[in-house]
């Protein structure tokens, strides 16, 4: 398709008449720690998206794009402005079970995606830890999975997309070849350049609905890194859990899970396990307790002592079940463990939670993460969850991935600890910058402008600024996060930061 060829869109969508009271909603980050009021619109097609851009221009408002709202902080919020929620653009447009190529609208979730393709023996190449993210959100943040070190990020599996930028003609189809700058900028561009209105993805062939999973204990961050390095060459997925409460000699102890696809013929029940029903997560815990109420059970443990108990139990469970045992687990159970308990985040109410994930080059990872753990523990604010992953570099302009490791911390937010927590995040930021690391906007709620401008490569910021000037010169697209980090003239800010 030619670079500037427009894709026909039906002109039937009703034009939003204006900003009405009925559009006002509170929009929150997934972690419930930040939120604000916006006028929310939910178009059903690209024409509807364009209509909202027009409305915003007429009313002098900015537009923040939003998918499933799973970004932990303020990345999909636009307080006081318009939020364009794309979850109603949720059609699967085409699916080819012979090649594994699928065309979807941006509001299609990972859940919808895997349910559409698994029966034919395919699985999404890259998934997040929750299946409720949308394709548009995944592309905009260029998400990674537990296989990042092996297959790259979400963007690496996007074949092409249709894109509607506020000021760049109509909807156009973008590929790596016809517009490499926009391709690599829009993916990872956190909704700042335009709106994905269709994505074509290459999915991954699988021969069973199950993975072969194995777990290993590790006793320090260094050991965890060694374990990853040793297994990475032949593991399809690797993920580590770190007990962030344990200090002293147990600092950084954890468990590594490794998973591999089954080869053709290896699973005698392959066809059966590929059924959607075989992937279902049970509705009740231990067959008794309704999962929907599970967060209430978690609540009493949502404090330093409770997490210490749970973490110790989790770590020492290995004594009872030797970790060397290999077991089979469905793709969903392995990939979306967090969805197993619906609304588990409610255990963090009323203050919510923030996630702090930083990405550190391989050689520096051990010392950086140990230092972060010590700082957090020393401040009396130990993370309640620590998740460890391995990454590799990718060609997307604002990507978070490095040739190294990431450690994601979940922190509980309360009215009392909030200021202290934000201050702690600043200290952790310093460690990341000192070690040449990066941050991830999907997880961010605390980053300061100077840090954001310091960690992004200057060249990438200059390129991104040029794209912003081309696609959205009037800064129609903004979010709370973009304003927090780059002010309301993102292009100018990135240009001057990129000129340093």
């Amino acid at each position: 398709m030619d670079m500037h060829e427009s894709v026909a869109v039906p002109r039937s969508a009703p034009q939003p008449a204006g900003l009405r009271l009925k559009h006002i909603e509170r929009v929150e980050g997934w972690g419930m720690a930040v939120g604000g009021l916006s006028h929310v619109f939910r178009p059903t097609d690209a024409e509807g998206v364009r209509a909202v851009f027009d409305l915003a221009r007429r009313e002098g408002r900015s537009v923040g794009l939003r998918g499933g709202g799973n970004s932990y902080g303020d990345a999909a919020m636009n307080t006081g402005g318009i939020v364009l929620d794309l979850t109603r653009m949720d059609r699967v447009l085409a699916w080819d079970p012979a090649t594994g190529v699928i065309d979807v609208e941006p509001g299609v979730t990972i859940e919808r995606l895997w349910k559409t393709i698994i029966g034919d023996g395919w699985w999404p190449a890259v998934v997040s830890g929750t299946m409720f993210t949308t394709m548009g959100g995944c592309a905009a943040m260029n998400i990674h999975g537990k296989n990042n070190y092996k297959v790259g990020t979400f963007g690496d599996h996007v074949v092409e997309f249709d894109f509607l930028a506020p000021d760049d003609g109509g909807v156009r189809t973008v590929t790596r070849e016809n517009d490499p700058d926009l391709f690599h900028g829009a993916i990872s561009g956190f909704g700042m350049l335009g709106c994905f209105t269709r994505l074509r993805l290459q999915t991954k062939r699988v021969y069973s609905g199950r993975l072969r999973v194995e777990a290993f204990d590790t006793h320090s961050v260094g050991e965890m890194i060694e374990s990853f390095e040793e297994r990475a060459p032949d593991a399809d997925y690797l993920v580590g859990w770190i007990d962030c409460i344990k200090g002293g000699r147990g600092l950084g102890r954890g468990i590594v899970h490794r998973a591999n696809y089954l080869a053709p013929g290896e699973d005698p029940d392959g066809d059966l396990t590929l059924a959607v029903a075989a992937q279902g997560l049970p509705d009740k815990i231990l067959g008794l307790f309704p999962k929907s109420l599970m967060h209430l059970l978690l609540r009493p443990f949502c404090n330093n002592l409770g997490v210490r108990l749970i973490n110790a139990a989790k770590f020492h469970a290995g004594v009872l079940h030797p970790r060397s045992v290999v077991y089979l687990q469905s793709h969903t159970a392995f990939a979306f463990l967090l969805d197993y308990v619906p609304n588990w985040k409610f255990a963090y109410k009323p203050g919510g939670l923030i996630q702090y994930q930083s990405f550190i080059p391989k050689e520096a990872a051990e010392s950086a993460f140990e230092e972060q753990l010590r700082i957090a523990q020393g401040a009396g604010l130990p993370p309640y969850l620590g998740v460890f992953k391995k990454h590799r570099p990718d060609p997307f302009l604002l990507t978070h991935a490095v040739d190294g490791y990431s450690l994601a911390f979940d922190f509980r937010v309360t009215r009392r600890n909030r200021a202290q927590l934000w201050h702690l995040a600043e200290e952790l930021d310093r460690v990341v910058l000192d070690h040449g690391g990066r941050f991830y906007f999907a997880k961010d709620a605390t980053l300061r402008p100077d840090v954001a401008r310091a960690f992004l490569p200057a060249e990438n910021m200059r390129k991104f600024a040029a794209l912003k000037r081309r696609c959205d010169p009037h800064n129609l697209l903004q979010t709370d996060l973009s304003r927090r980090l780059f002010g309301s003239d993102l292009a100018a800010t990135m240009e001057s930061a990129g000129a340093r």
Partner: protein
């Protein structure tokens, strides 16, 4: 986008509603006053604005039985106030009904004003508050809704149904951080009950309003005004029907 400390009082031209509006205004709220009699509303608004030294009260004449007008008027009011955080529904009627009188028009009026009007207004408020995940909704019911008495079948029904509706709203909206309060006053000295003469344990409208405004600040659920009615009604609710019938309570 929406200011805090903005209240809407339906039934604000007289009695409990007027007193609640005045007290809210004294606490710094901007208030929208709704009822049919515009001149009465103006008097209340003038008192509020004079005291505050600024235009804190706005007047909107409306008959709550014109249900279709509610959505647009609600939107206009929120716009005029610049926000909305509290809604109080205090409009009500209780025409005299003789013990041997069966008068559909009166019953219908009570259901329309006390119940359907409330549903029309509170649905609007509920939808807004659900979306913004904040707000307080107050419905003024009555102790008279706790039992079906011989004297006031229509009124008792309207008040009983009000309480059920408010309980449902409360259960719907609790996850959205919205509080829904059912106020159940005993006798209050207002024009509505003047024809009944002096009633037992009667309080002034201002005293009722003081307690209601306090509840707005902190309560969930049902609040009897004054509180002792909670105990009294607990006993009355538990009197078996065959005894209750003989007590001759009207």
């Amino acid at each position: 986008m929406l200011r805090d400390n903005c209240a809407l009082v339906v039934g604000a031209s007289s009695g409990i509603g007027a007193a609640v509006a005045e007290r809210l205004a004294r606490e710094g709220f901007r208030v929208a006053l709704v009822a049919r009699r515009e001149e009465e509303l103006r008097k209340v608004a003038d008192r509020i604005n004079q005291r505050a030294g600024e235009d804190r009260a706005l007047v909107f004449a409306h008959d709550v039985t014109c249900f279709d007008e509610v959505p647009a008027l609600f939107e206009r009011i929120v716009e005029a106030l610049g926000g909305l955080s509290v809604v109080v529904y205090a409009a009500g009627v209780m025409p005299p009904v003789a013990l041997d009188e069966y008068h559909f028009a009166k019953d219908r009026q009570m259901i329309e004003v006390n119940l359907l009007g409330m549903i029309a207004w509170l649905n609007e408020a509920a939808d807004l508050f659900r979306r913004v995940q904040a707000g307080v909704i107050v419905g003024v019911g009555s102790v008279a809704g706790d039992r079906g008495r011989a004297g006031q079948p229509g009124y008792n029904t309207s008040k009983g149904a009000q309480a059920i509706f408010l309980e449902s709203l409360r259960n719907r909206l609790a996850p959205a951080n919205v509080r829904v309060i059912t106020i159940k006053p005993g006798p209050v000295d207002t024009p509505m009950v003047r024809h009944l003469g002096r009633l037992p344990m009667m309080i002034t409208a201002d005293e009722a309003a003081r307690q209601i405004v306090r509840a707005i600040g902190r309560s969930w659920g049902t609040v009897y005004v004054p509180r002792r009615w909670g105990l009294i009604m607990w006993v009355i609710i538990h009197i078996p029907s065959f005894i209750f019938r003989r007590l001759g309570m009207k």
